[in-house]
Symmetry: C2
Subunit: 208 residues, 2 copies
């Protein structure tokens, strides 16, 4: 759910790209550039990022990188845009609590085991374009997760009329709060605790 890490199962957009830009960039070039930008961000931090550094690291010509991405904000926005077009689907374990626990285990893993997510969150405080793209990435993830809530209503687990977004935010926000803002140590019990509390609240009529 939470990790905006590009995957290799992304759709190949080279055809669209070529139609849009005659003689334009291939998906392989895009992949190299975005991988280089992300690796640079994670290894050396936001301040080290520049078109020049990413061009050199990716082996793609500076002019090409500049023309397509313009600046660091453009690179990070495209990293997040690329991560948004994957085939991720929310878990379907057969219960609201089970689904929320699995989502939270993904969030917890992304925030504790993968430097990409935390680096992109930090970058969102430096670049307005990255902030907007991260917001869009999360909005899309929460939208996909509404299936979890719809199925729980269909099964009669929780009342109809629940605000899916409010429930999903309640079920995930404490993880981000503890791990990103409060910088608490990772706690393997946290995903389940937080998910179970949100499910209990939903069954009791919260988020209505």
């Amino acid at each position: 759910m939470a990790s905006p890490r590009p995957t290799s199962e992304l759709p190949d957009d080279s055809a669209t790209d070529r139609a849009r830009r005659p003689g334009g960039r291939s998906a392989a070039v895009r992949r190299r550039v975005l991988d280089a930008a992300l690796a640079q961000l994670v290894q050396h931090g936001y301040d080290s990022l520049s078109i020049d550094v990413v061009a050199e690291r990716s082996g793609v010509h500076r002019t090409t990188v500049y023309r397509r991405w313009r600046d660091v904000g453009g690179l990070l926005a495209d990293v997040l845009h690329e991560a948004s077009v994957d085939a991720w689907r929310p878990p379907d374990t057969g219960s609201l609590e089970g689904d929320l626990v699995e989502v939270n285990q993904e969030v917890h893993g992304a925030l504790t085991g993968d430097p990409v997510t935390v680096a992109l969150i930090a970058a969102s405080f430096r670049s307005g374009q990255a902030a907007t793209a991260l917001r869009a990435f999360w909005t899309d993830r929460y939208d996909r997760c509404t299936d979890i809530v719809r199925r729980a209503v269909d099964r009669g687990e929780i009342p109809a009329g629940i605000d899916a977004r409010r429930l999903l935010i309640a079920a995930t926000a404490p993880l981000y709060h503890e791990l990103v803002l409060l910088r608490s140590a990772p706690d393997p019990r946290l995903p389940e605790q937080v998910a179970r509390s949100a499910a209990t609240a939903a069954r009791a009529g919260a988020y209505g």
Copy 2:
């Protein structure tokens, strides 16, 4: 609850200070320097902060500022430390829900109406010292808020054995998540909605 803004009701620590550092800094000097650091951060951002700029802005000699605070991290840590030693007490409205709503109204106000809090959160992604100090500030605030939970247990509103911190995080985290990470527009209904959901969950036995 949420705003680490220094207030003028801070205890005067000049006596302690003089005892610790013969001929040392007065509370007035500290106030001028920390006010200058905070104003510079809010108006011109983290990258503009330096000992030199803060010294000039405060009218305090560069050597004094350097000797006492060392660097930007030291300045921000002291801003947050100073904010932590105020007399803030959690609301006592007579009900769990009422108390949590008031806390959340403070958080919402700090995150939407006061640039200080958001600037310090952003700075915490740049400076490890600021991050540690912000964590300490919030830990102290959540500790003070455990009174809210204790009183609710005493009144029989919620079961004994509730984990106060988990309840308080659940009652506030969605606000931070929406306003700081998701960058959603301020929503005046949010403080009450989130507080009410957490109170419902607590009554239903969550956070136990």
